[in-house]
Amino acid sequence: MIDLLSYAAFFLTMALTYAVICLGLNLQWGQTGLFNVGVAGFVAVGAYVSAILTTPPIDGRIGGFELPMVVGWLGGGLAAGLLCLGIGALTLRLRSDYLAIATFGAAVVIQLALLNLEGLTGGPFGVGFIPRPFGSLQGDADLFALANLLVMIVTVLLCYLALEHLVRSPWGRVLRALREDETAARALGKNPVTYRLQAFAIGGFVMGLGGAAQGHFIGFIAPDNYLPILTFQVWTMLIVGGSGNMRGAILGAVLVWAIWAVSGSAVSALFPTEQQARAASLQIVMIGAALCAVLLLRPRGLLGEAGTLRRRKTRTAPKISEGTETNA
């Protein structure tokens, strides 16, 4: 029973790290319509930068500054945000899918860099000994698991409140206006590139933060954790939960992570060891098909975007909702 409790705490902690990443993607895609296919790369940057800042020094590797964890997490987020800023500056003036191609390329190069810059990233062996939050409690497994979960609940809550506040602010309304009708928003004097760049960078910061948190809970990171399948998982989480809705992003993350974990353990329980790699690829096929099916059948996800409901209200009582919108 106690085991089950600490497993549930561990499972939820991991799910919530995905929720943070998913919240970042929701700002980029759900609110702004920016298609980032390199999520895994930005998450990796967050995780590695935080790990390098906080781990004890190791011979033959640059880094290992033993800084406090908060510095590591913020540093990881900043690094990912700056990277987004660079890629966004390069592509956001061009056609919308150039960003997709550029982020895809960035993720490929980040993966290469993780593998080959051994002096910084540890190469294929990764970085170990990443400090875990409340490491002093490690003796008591349950308390430790619950403390970690608490850290993650607070992190998700902070991200949620901050992003929700941003999205409800006039700034957030400009983002949605640009997404829905760029010409109209432009006519109102809003520069689309500036707003999109800001949203892309802030989303990148949140993703990096999620990556950093993930690295610290696992305690070990390696290039293999950041393959395109991670990008895909986060996307599925957002689409299933309902893109454009911050609560949907969190719900989707927990739900899809649960499905992933259950189907993963089903694969290892049902298939003999030599067939497991094959079965795992079938698991990805099914998730891929599921994503396409959701796009076709229920593009708004489980929790749709709140804004579309509001727009419907506007049609019936324009004046009242106009008033509430400016107050919100």
Binding site: D97, L112, G288, L295
Partner: protein
Amino acid sequence: MMLQPIMDGLVNGAIIGLGAIGVTLTYAILRFANFAHGELLSWGAYLALTVSGALGALLPGLGTPLGPFSFGWSVPIAMAGSILLTAALTLAVDWLLFGRLRRSGAVTIILVMASFGAALALRNLLEFAYTSSPKYFSNALQISREILPGLRATPDQLLVVALGVVLVVLVHLLLTRTAAGRSMRAVSEDPQLSALVGIDTRAVIRMVWVLGAALAAVAGIMSGVVVQIRPTMGHDLLLPLFAAAILGGIGSVPGAMLAGLIVGLAEALTVQLIGAEWRAAVSFVILVAVLLLRPQGIFGKVTA
């Protein structure tokens, strides 16, 4: 001594160029970046492998190497079969996924995302069916011959380059000299206007898929002949394909081929000068350089 990487670059560049033609056509006419195009190369190669394996088992004579090449008649026959099957596969994916999204009025980016999902499903389906271990069309070893002083190539490699050139010329003629090609170019210019003057847009879309799939299948098979067949081969080529399509200018067939050769040569030189481990970064560097300096590509129009 600098000639050898040029040969390797040309062989790879021809493969990238053929794949990039499909990417550029899909981009220009269907108006989205198709992340599943790389998987068409892999599927083309595996479908050909299956057909040639079956042929070889039925009629062992077909497996005897043809002249100087490493493969027998089974591979060219399998190529024809694979082109048909790969084209059928893309039409099926379009019918199941992209066509429905188009009709529901989905924005570009939803199509891109759907292609991303389709790519993962298609790739892992291959991995499930054939496992991730590399496969080969033939076990025959080829000895490279000296063509010029300091330049060696296997007959297979020369065939790949020649086939690449022939196909580019054919596709270029198809687009510029035939009614079908004219309607394709019209749709890429202005879909609404071409529908208005009586061009069957749906037929044009089918043509784009079939043409792109056929070229992808040939590129995948050629890559399988000179290197090996792996489920991730198309995914690994995806970034070079995009880099070539954008460098060549979206919609330009000769541009895609020329840019494919440039990407292939740049990769070969990187392997020679910096190291093989950074090869995959070359396409990204080229991509970034093009986006910074000339986003419309070599042959692209400024508005593209």
